[in-house]
Every structure is written in structure tokens, then in C-alpha cells.
Symmetry: C2
Subunit: 330 residues, 2 copies
Amino acid sequence: MRVHVQNPANETLFPITPEQWAAAVARAPDMADLEVSYADDDAGFAAALPQADALLTWVKEVHTRIAVPRLALPERLKVIFCTSAGVDRLLPLGEWLPPGVALLNNRGTHAAKAGEFGIMALLMLANHLPVFAHDARAGRWAPRFGSVLAGRTVCVVGLGSLGGAVAAWAKQFGMHVIGVRHSAAPHESCHEVVSQADLETVLPRSEFLVIACPLTPQTQGLFDRRRLALLPQGGKVVNIGRGALWDQEAACNLLDAGHLAGCVTDVAVPEPLPQEHRLWRTPGMFVTPHMSADDPGTYNDRSLDIFFENLRALRQGAPLPNRIRPERGY
Amino acid sequence: MRVHVQNPANETLFPITPEQWAAAVARAPDMADLEVSYADDDAGFAAALPQADALLTWVKEVHTRIAVPRLALPERLKVIFCTSAGVDRLLPLGEWLPPGVALLNNRGTHAAKAGEFGIMALLMLANHLPVFAHDARAGRWAPRFGSVLAGRTVCVVGLGSLGGAVAAWAKQFGMHVIGVRHSAAPHESCHEVVSQADLETVLPRSEFLVIACPLTPQTQGLFDRRRLALLPQGGKVVNIGRGALWDQEAACNLLDAGHLAGCVTDVAVPEPLPQEHRLWRTPGMFVTPHMSADDPGTYNDRSLDIFFENLRALRQGAPLPNRIRPERGY
């Protein structure tokens, strides 16, 4: 079986390296017979693709090299594995992905890192840190006191690896955790789970909201002004999903109006956020530059382990755990 | 037994109220026979003090009403309980406190709140949040990636209720926790404990430093430039103790020089920090206005519970758990 790794050109922080590959194979000896090639340019891609059974690459590479030009894929290609969790840029899949090719994401890679970012953001909001960051700009020492998380309610929307990891920490800090997902199936870290159709019934009793769902045509703009305003007075929001999941202008308006007390967002529209954008200047809004879930120390190791789990399933004729379902979009 | 509660004048956030007293007595029925009086002015203090067996008040009230004027205390007064943990302003005790009066602090009150602030600050430093707060002032979207806390080393100086609570969370996040305290006695949340005399031997392997010890003549200026520079390149510091425990100018210099990667400090010299102070402007320095350990939702309840524990010990002739030892100063 032949795997082609297509790194982006000039990627310095996250390229998949032969050393990382070797270490992953050492953890998964049944993968020792894989043949692997690497490239980061057009010529390397064109030369390797016809021989590849699996392609391991970036969403942006799939987008520009395959989806946009509607590239004809060779018959032998079975798997395209993306080194990220969000594949929203590639939707709808039906327009470019042949039915015989499985598109996989690396969900699971981000859990530990995103979980820590999420609980950090909840603690920051409980401690008024976004307000203090603004006070610091003016050199203003203005104490406000905060309370511990125990007993307070958080609504986590999306119980994939990101939301699930945040929910686990929130529960450990003694919060009351309400999960929202596609189905209302129970989740070990949530005290209650409701389906997305019932989202509006739980928002009014959620002091904290964590947005951690995938961006799909169904979730785009889910947190519009009306739904954000359903949060109670003093509500606080963390967005570690995608900027297009919420109306960021409405969030700023609700902060300015005093209905929301604080927001921490790791995502924005557009990214990078322009220098003069309102998100940088709205008191109570704390912006981080899309780094919440990516841990350079462990990222590729986790991605490769997950890739190998899927190849193992492929060899066994089992369902591929990380396959994107075209009808759901994640 | 008669208790006098002397609240500060115009205290709106943290005054001890008759309702809080009644609730605390309901939790401690053996205290139902206590007589209690309240005042927030000079006349009320003068009238109540001669009849009081115990005085429950603020450090600043003890300072201005008793320590500075060297007020003669009535024979029957046995206990002065302060509604804070740090009594540095009252040192040395020998200058004003009669040997027959026990000075108590409320240590234990702050543990839950300070522990959450401490782990928040460690997560913020691991995620470069102080740098992002500065980038936001300039509208600069400049991703840097951080790693999870697991496996990284934190040195917690001071294992009282603050430092102990931070150490407990740090351990739960998988960090390697080195504790530093007066003695090298083991601590359940620390993988190693060394005595203060060995502090310098552990700093070079501590990526994170948490300053959580009391301010005494022995600890004043403990973290001078030389000791802060013993931290490894990229070191990160949290100060939840007192501003005078470290050389805050040296910390800024080490941030500017790139030796330290970030600091979160809840304390400063002086407080309130003047508008034009360098601490507000140094990239990588995140200042919060001395609110890390005070939770208005639970503060007085916890303080009263601890006060009653000490009165119970007094009645039983047992040592008072919160008594300040004059020779240590905490």
C-alpha cells in the first residue's frame, strides 16, 4: 500500500516529516509495510498521485489541487486524509469527491489541547479577564470580583472531540454541563443532552455558552443575534468552532449593550482579522488567532496515529472511523 | 461569649451581614449562644470593644484602630480574627499585640477561588495569552501555538491554601509539580518538595513559577532579578502573593530581553497601580487588579465557618488553627 504525503509549500511549523512517520510506525508495527512518498510542490504531487492508495494532506491542498479544479482522481486512490478536523471549505463533497474515495479528517487530534483552551476561556470569563485586558490598555486598575465555576451552568454546543473535551473539564470543575448535539444521546461528561432542535430551550439558563460544533450549511450563522440574546443577562460565550457559526457583530453589540459580559473567540471572519476590525476594540471581547486546538508538540503524532487507525479499518473492511459523511458534512 | 464585628465604613461588597452570621450559625449550631454586635464607625467600635471576647474585622481596621495608635486592648479580649489571609501590614506583631490575644487570619477561605485563578494563569501562559492581549491593542493577528500542560514543570512557592490549591490543579492537568516551603515536608499535590533554602536548585528546571507565599521580612524581595533569571529561557511566572515578593521591574526587563515568555500578576507595587506604570505596557505582562482569591459569592461564608472553627478550638482549650505565629509572621 502506498501513501503520498503532500505538505504545503513553505510549511515550517506543522509539516509531516519522515522522522514523525517513522515514530508513528514504531507505535503501529502493522504499518511497517507501507510505502511513503513526500512532496510539497506541483511536480511532486503530479508524479506521486497516480501511484497512491492514500493521500495524506491539508484541507487547503485538497481545495486548490482537487476540489476547485475538479481533478480526476486515479482509480486506485481509496482515501484522502486531511490533517485538520474542519473540512467546511470542501463542502458539498458531492461536487468533486468520487463515491469510491473516502474523505477523512483528523478528529481526535485536537481534544487535549482544545479542552485546555476551553476551560481556560471559561475561567477567564468567570474572572473578567477580557474586561481587565481592556482596562490595561488605559492603565486602569478597577477590581471586579469573580466566583468559582462550581454550580454554574455551561451549554456546550457540539460534542465532538473539542466540545467533549471542554465538557469533561467543565464537569471536573463542578459546573452543570448541558450538551447540545445532532441527537439527544447521553454523553458521559454532560448532565443533560438535548438535540439541536431544542437549543433555544436551554440557552436562557446557560450563563456560559461554548460553541464547538462543525461549520456546515445547517450550522452556519446558528448563533445569530436572536439566539445570542436568549442567553441570560451577563451571559458569556466561548467560540472555538468557526467564526461563521455566530454573528460576531451581534456579539459585539450585545457586549456594548451590557447583555453579554464577555466573550473569548479563537475564530473570526475573516481570518486573519483586519487590523481595524471592531472585534479587536470591543470591550469584553478577547480574540486569539486560531490557535486553540493545535499543539505543535503532539499534533502530527496524533494525526498519524489516527490515520493509521483508519488504514487498519480499511484493511479489515471495517467502517472508517474518521470518514466524513457527505450528507452531514462532518 | 460576645463577638464584635467591625466592618469598614462604606464597604459595599464584602461587609459581614447579620444574614450571613445567621446562616453560619445554622451550619454550626454550637455557636448559637454567641452574642454579636456590628458597627462600621468609631463610636460603635469604642462602645463595643470593652465588652468583646472576640473581634472580627479587617486587616486595615486592625492597622488603623489598634496597631498604629497602640490601642490598649481590654483584658477580656482573646481573639482578633481578620477577614483576609495576608497580615503583612501588621508585622511585627510584638510591637502592638499583647501576648494574651491571638491574632487569626482567614486562611482557607481563598483556596478554591485562588486555585482556579492559578490554573487559569498557567493555561494562559501556556497559550501565550499575555502576548495576544498586547497584539490585540495593535489589531495584530499573529498566531503562535502552545502545548498542553501535561509533562511540563511548575514550581509552586508557598504551599498554604493558595499554593496548595494551585498545585492540586496543576497535578490534575498532568504537570510535574515542585513545591517550595518553609520545611521540605511532603505535600499530597507535589511530586517533590524542597525547603526555601533549596529554592535556587529547582528554579533552573521550572518552566513555570507560581509565587504564592506570604509576605514577611524573610520573603520580601525573594524573587529578585538574579533568582528570576535562574528560570530557564522561556520561563513563565504567576504572582498571586504580594507585589513586594518579586522585583516587578526585573520581571519587565526579563520579558523585554526575551528571557521570560510571559507573566500574569494579580498583585503590584503600589496598588492601585498608577495609570502610567510600566507594568501595564510591557508586552507579555498581564496585570489583574488583586481579585484572584476573593469570591464574593462564598467569601464571608467561608470566613465565618473558619472563625467558628477557631472559637470552637478556643472553647476546647485546643490550639487555634488560624493563629498567626509572631515569629513567622503568618
